[in-house]
Amino acid sequence: MADIPVGTPLAAPLARQRTLLVGTVFGTAAALMYFAALFGVYLRERSDALADGGSWIPAGADIQLAQPTVAAWTMLMSVVTMQWAVYSIARDDRTHAILATALTTLFGFSVVITTSFQYTQMGLVADESIAAVLIYTISGSHLAMIAVGLVFLLLMAFRALGGQYSSRQTDGFVAASVFWYAVVFVYVVIWTAIFVLK
């Protein structure tokens, strides 16, 4: 190997490929497009039902705003903890990064529990109206999205525990946060379009 003279400037480091981040952005965009299509059908059906002079939510169903609002605030709080995790890992503070990820995961679980509880309370029978079909499809799909987000977060937390992420490599946490923000965004739209507007 040839000698390198003293004082030779080092070559600029190659930019990291950010493969996981790009892949996650692709998946997140696909998930958002999926929900955009569902909301398109939902809002169109709702508009038609109301224009005909009928009610959108079938008689006998009681959709309270309390549980969805609690869930929405929980989701919004998880944005703070998620960003806390990204902030911490970028500063080599693994303890806080894992703590913040654990809190985000806890918030996610609590939204699953809140939504499940609401299912038992609202008296909406799935095969009796178009509204019920669409509400269960959208909120059920969102539960699946939360589940994917939780698995993603737990995976990143375990990899951080193993020392894989640091200020030099934050892609996993940034990618998980991008997906999680999309989870929160979709819930805010659900809260507005389904539970507030009814």
């Binding site: 190997m1 000698d3 390198i4 003279p5 003293v6 190659l14 930019a15 490929q17 950010r18 493969t19 790009v22 892949g23 692709f26 998946g27 965009a29 696909a30 998930a31 497009m33 999926y34 929900f35 955009a36 299509a37 569902l38 398109g40 059908v41 169109r44 508009s47 038609d48 224009a51 005909d52 799935a126 095969d127 009796e128 109206s129 178009i130 019920a132 079909v133 669409l134 269960y136 499809t137 059920g140 799909s141 193993g162 020392g163 894989q164 640091s166 030099r168 490599q169």
Partner: protein
Amino acid sequence: MTLTETRPEPDAIATGDDFGPTAPSSPHQWTPPTGLAGILSTGDHQVVGRLYVLFALLLSGLALVLGVLIGIERADIDGGFGLFGQANELFQIFGLYRTTLILCGLVPLFLGLATAVIPRQLGASSVAFPRAAAAAFWTWLVGAITHIAATFSYGGLGSLQAGAAREQSVELTVLSLGMIGLGLLAGAGVIFATIVTQRPAGMDLLQVPAFSWSMLVATGVWLFSLPVLLANLVVSWVDMRGADAQGFGGGDAPFEQVAWAFDAPQVYAWTIPMLGIVAEVFTSAHRSRPQMFEPMAFIVGVFGFFSFGAWAQSFFDSANPLASDAHIVTNEVVFTAFGLAIAVVVLAYGGWLAFNAVSAGQRPRITPQFALIAISGALLTAAAVVGVLRVAEPALGVLREFDEDVWRGFFDAMDDLESSSLVTGVMNFAVLGGLLAAVGGLYHWAPRLLGRPLNVPLGFLSVLPLAGGAILIGLTDVLSGLFDQPARPYETSGIADIDSLGFVEALNVIGLIGSIAVLGGLALVALNVARSLTLPVEAEADRGGDA
């Protein structure tokens, strides 16, 4: 200070994440499994690409067999359902023809070529997520096999028999189509991430080869289309799980929900990669490099934009008369604009090819792949031009919102085109054009993909039935559409409106001959691939192709 020590060999460095901790190397050499276990567990992009191509060709063949069966049925339009017995069974095969041809044939064929070729085009060692690529392939394949099996088990995308007990196989058909969509979406994500992240330093996106660029555009458009298809299927499936379907899962609604994927403009979106294949084979045949690459990249991007068609579905249309007028006008203006724009973009692409032919200053080298891409370009042009007729009825509809009698009489013939077999003609022209381009790409990259070139005389022999058959299929669909043959052969109510029934039946027989010819051509391609696999693998330096 001088650096004189020799760096450790890469084998001595622990594998794993580049930024993670290192671990001592294992004293035992791991050997990858071989045989069937090797194929099932492989993450090698070349092997996954070959598997995609192999199964996509097989399933394209199956789709063409279904096309032949539908052709036999249409050869005697007013004779009842002689071959299928019932309208519902024809409806099942009609839907399966579309899903198999596009989502089990054309799209995975492009993905297979991309998985095998694009890393080499970019100078990368593999695709971005090799295991995800393998998982996407197996998801797609299992979904495709389940979808076909479920349809043949009296499934299909819905049922025409009102009040009949719903077959569980209908649910399985819908679910498996979702699985196909999920697999294709994951495969598209892998290709997208590969092109974005695996380029060498200094190569920007406008410096990637034409096929890579077209795949970047295609996967971008599929990213916005396939999730909508999945949403349609999930709503249908949830609805049909209940005791009484509320509108999304009942009757033939599941098919109606996904019909936009087989109609203009979305049908063009499935063919976007053909623009890259045509560009590469065309310039290679002229022994030149692509001139004016940026305008071509722009044209492909614009083609991608105007081919996005997930919005053009009736489930986004309002049934409310107060809201629908304005909405339908807007919808149809956009629909018409997209149809016209596609034709302009395809002509612009033809202009780019002509410019490159003139710039090269020499005659092209005539090869099977050149003949195939020339015909595929002609088929896409035909699809785009006929697509203008396809949007004539919506355009007239918009004009008649303002004046009931505008062009009444002269353009009356356009009134029923939207529901005629002209729509099928647009689909067949575009999709078969894409299929021919993909086969052209297979010939072009065979030395890289298979390690051996394909036989040239056998290649020329396959061009004739493929090209002739594809033209016959598309042309007879368009012509019979002008005579008001309904797009959906199971709808008997439209038979009375057909002008010159005998002539239309004769056209259908010619179309049937075309289907058999394409099937024969595809069999010759499969024979050629099988024959090449018996030859010894060429040395890397001897391989042709431009990958």
